[in-house]
Amino acid sequence: MSRLELALQHGLSQREYETICASLQREPNELELGLFSLNWSEHCSYKSSKRFLKLLPTAGKRVLQGPGENAGVLELENDWCVAFKVESHNHPSAVEPFNGAATGVGGIIRDILSMGARPIALLDSLRFGDLTPQPPSRRGKGECLTPPRFGEGPGERSRQLFTGVVAGISHYGNCVGVPTVGGDVSFDDAYTDNCLVNVMCVGLLKRSQLKRAIAHGVGNKILLVGARTGRDGIHGATFASEDLVGETEAKRPNVQVGDPFTAKSLIEATLEVCQFPELIGLQDLGAGGLSTAPAEMAARGNVGIAIDIEEIPLRDPTMTPYEILLSESQERMVLCVKAGSEQKFLQIYRKWGLEATVIGEVIAERVYRIRHESRTIAEVPISLLVGGVPEPDLSPIPSPKEGGESPLPLREGGTGVRWGGAGGEVGGKNGRSWREALKQLLHSPTIGSKRWVYEQYDHTVQTNTVIGPGAHDAALLRVKGERFGIAVTMGGNGRYCQIDPYEGGARAVCEAVHNLLSVGAEPIGITDCLNFANPTDPEVLWSFEQTIRGMADAARALELPFVSGNVSFYNQSETRKIYPTPIVGMVGLLKDIELRVPMGFQGEGDLIYLIGKLSGKVGGSEYLKVFYGDIGGELERTDLELERQLVTVMLALAERRLLHSAHDVSEGGLLVALAEKSFARGLGARLELDDLSEEYLFGEWPSRFVVTVAPEREDALKELLDEAGVPYQRVGIVAGDALELGGDGVSVTELRRAYETALEL
């Protein structure tokens, strides 16, 4: 085989190969090709996405570390800082859901650790294909062996992926002792072949503890710590940079198996050594393993690194240098430490029962040099390896949606259906009343309770979870010894992006903002994971660009910086592309946790107000999907000026303690939001709505909150809203134990049953 063929087999393009030869002024050897194949993979180099990512705003007064490191860092109060990032593990989870998801958790935790922060929370956004109805005889029995693999068919496969992924996150997150406090799960056929597993980790650190993934100072030592190196996941990053099609089965890397026990010791040992002034930089070994991490550290420090391959502790002594360098074994990190101090580092790791070895040193020549028994077996300029990849020549072209024929059945305007009162005589679909529709929506897996999921996650460990999963729009963590709290949320709706990627991107940002505002916290920064299909498809690239523009415009309007993120391309099979799916993770600061606002109705007699945009369309809603099997429709563009006003006014309302409860209106629309508010204490409401159209009851148009206020504070609330010029409307009063509307009613118990049994596996 020619060298070129070998390069192509490594996933490099001919153009890339030629660039390498021209720069090296020779042909690269096989090991060097391996290095390039990983460093230049889409997954590691962001070659197709970086020019679009530049569109995202990254500056802000709290930003201590923006994109470019293992995680972003924002300043909070009293020298406390928060580090956070999201990471995808989509392909590995599609192949082996349990281990794929578990190692995804491990990877993102080590990213946070690399900043010198203690991981304090995890969130997970999951997307699967629609589940088939569960045969009644299997309900409520739980899993048997993991992962269970009953039957055939796409619904069964989605079920297996779902249970496997949740079990994997539960296994890893629980064991490392980081609470999983939030996230979201939704189901749609678009994700049948490619499920999405995005995990976000949040860490806490003092300003002075901030670390970077950097190496410098000639002669300083490079340490490898954690687990031994085995033949896991060789070519993992290249695998993540290709479509998920049948033939890749042969090319599939060995499944990486996570070891959360080793990870937990690695966290504790690393936090110990972070106190040493001799620690210069640290970096976790993620995709690409030793072929990428040290090179990236050297690039940041403008130095070179030489490593001695025979020093690396192996699980299997027969491994070749090629395998060692390309291995993606989990639970490993690389440290750069001052020469002479290595012993004290090694000691700490060994105390925790971990491997720790000096594997190399910083050199002046800016190359990544691999030595084997003192012989150089590969040597590549750092600048070429890291960032030297030529940008592929791709151009986005608008999807046919902007003209031409639509790939989606588009529904113009509303459906003209009005839901009736009792018995549904006013022409409700199939003669049903709004309460039947509401129950059915609450029972859909995407909207229904995710208790089955989050009860498998330890969400109370570390004793900081003030608001945990299932209780509110965002989770809230306290910081021991401080007044302030940290609110976190994560989510996104691919269906919106499928219809209108620009608007979908904007909404992803705005919804995260709403979730934080609902608990009373001020949004301060964003991390995101952009899950898309193959970027060489111009239409996909176009939706990618549009989504980013939507996110960027919303973030800019709300003065929110993106401080970290992740791109996952190639989420498609031969037959199916995922929806463009941006997942937004957001952090908020609540100045005083005593000012937190609950989600649910608190007491009878409280008045219910809808705040924000008071009318809109039904397009893109879960309602359309459930009742019409339709994901189309028209999405109204979010009014970013209104969003700005909502931020100000919601914060002011919370600060003045005017809100007895708050919840944003999102998936499912107004009635679903009201029903969710009734579950906390079993309190119902008498609703005073004069519009019973499906748009009004079930539309998902943006920029809305439902809040409650004590009757004696009603005037104060209205005054504040008037001053801010934000529209509002009284929609009812908290009363009884049923939701009543238009002479019809349904008990909270009945609604809750529908909601709680939506995901019974």
């Binding site: 539960s170 064991c175 002792g177 026990f261 937990k264 989050y454 996650y457 004793t463």
Partner: protein, 227 residues
């Protein structure tokens, strides 16, 4: 009074428990590395929750051989102080044979994290004397292997000696026999419980019931303060 919270590789509630003892109750408390064997100084030794050694094989199966656990029988025999195993700590104590019975996989075969109601079955112990007999309290659980089982004779003995301290109330989350959530040994100085009192020791997290349990230990049996 002086307390130790043992740190095994894989412990993850060590800092949480330390925080309650040290910061909320002001007890002099050490984080004790699992290789320590000198327990003389301590009036209370807590084996905290977590996944010691990854809970590989069986929860607690490897940790029971740790030096600190090997030193416990002597400590208990001499009546030196109180040993409290919470969650993983309970599992370690049963594996070590310091408490009767065994903790096995939840009947659902899944990990479960939620707040549960518990009934106080014996309030004449240092751990529970600040509760009323029959009182219903709330504590979080978070475990995959919390289903308590024991041979019939052992259960008879536990009941006869009133060694059952807490039972799950209304709902049995893991399938434990007799709804058992917490027990003590025959000496009344070794305690094991699946629920996490340290996770409900502040009003911020609910009723704060967990704190009374630690306060009980601090005040000593029947209110006599420990040294």
């Amino acid at each position: 009074m002086r307390a130790a919270v043992v740190v095994f590789p894989g412990s993850n509630c060590d800092h949480d428990t330390y925080y309650v003892l040290k910061d909320l109750l002001g007890i002099e408390t050490d984080l004790l590395w699992y290789r320590e064997t000198n327990l003389e100084r301590y009036d209370l030794i807590v084996l905290p929750g977590g996944f010691s050694y990854g809970d590989y094989l069986r929860a607690g199966a490897i940790a029971r051989f740790a030096p600190v656990v090997q030193a416990l029988p002597e400590y208990i025999e001499r009546g030196r102080g109180i040993v409290l195993g919470i969650c993983n700590g309970f599992q370690i104590l049963t594996e070590a044979g310091l408490l009767p019975g065994a903790l096995t996989k939840n009947i659902s075969q899944r990990f479960i994290c939620k707040t549960v109601k518990l009934r106080v079955e014996n309030n004449a112990t240092p751990l529970t004397h600040l509760f009323r007999y029959g009182e219903i309290i709330e504590l979080p659980i978070a475990h995959g292997e919390g289903r308590y089982i024991a041979p019939r004779e052992t259960l008879e003995r536990l009941k006869r000696n009133r060694q059952i301290l807490l039972t799950y109330y209304e709902e049995n989350p893991n399938g434990s026999v007799e709804n058992i959530a917490a027990i003590t040994d025959e000496t009344g100085t070794v305690f094991g419980m699946m629920p996490h009192p340290e996770r409900n020791s502040e009003r911020l997290f609910g009723t704060g019931d967990g704190l009374r349990l630690f306060q009980g230990v601090m005040q000593g049996p029947a209110g006599t303060p420990l040294p």
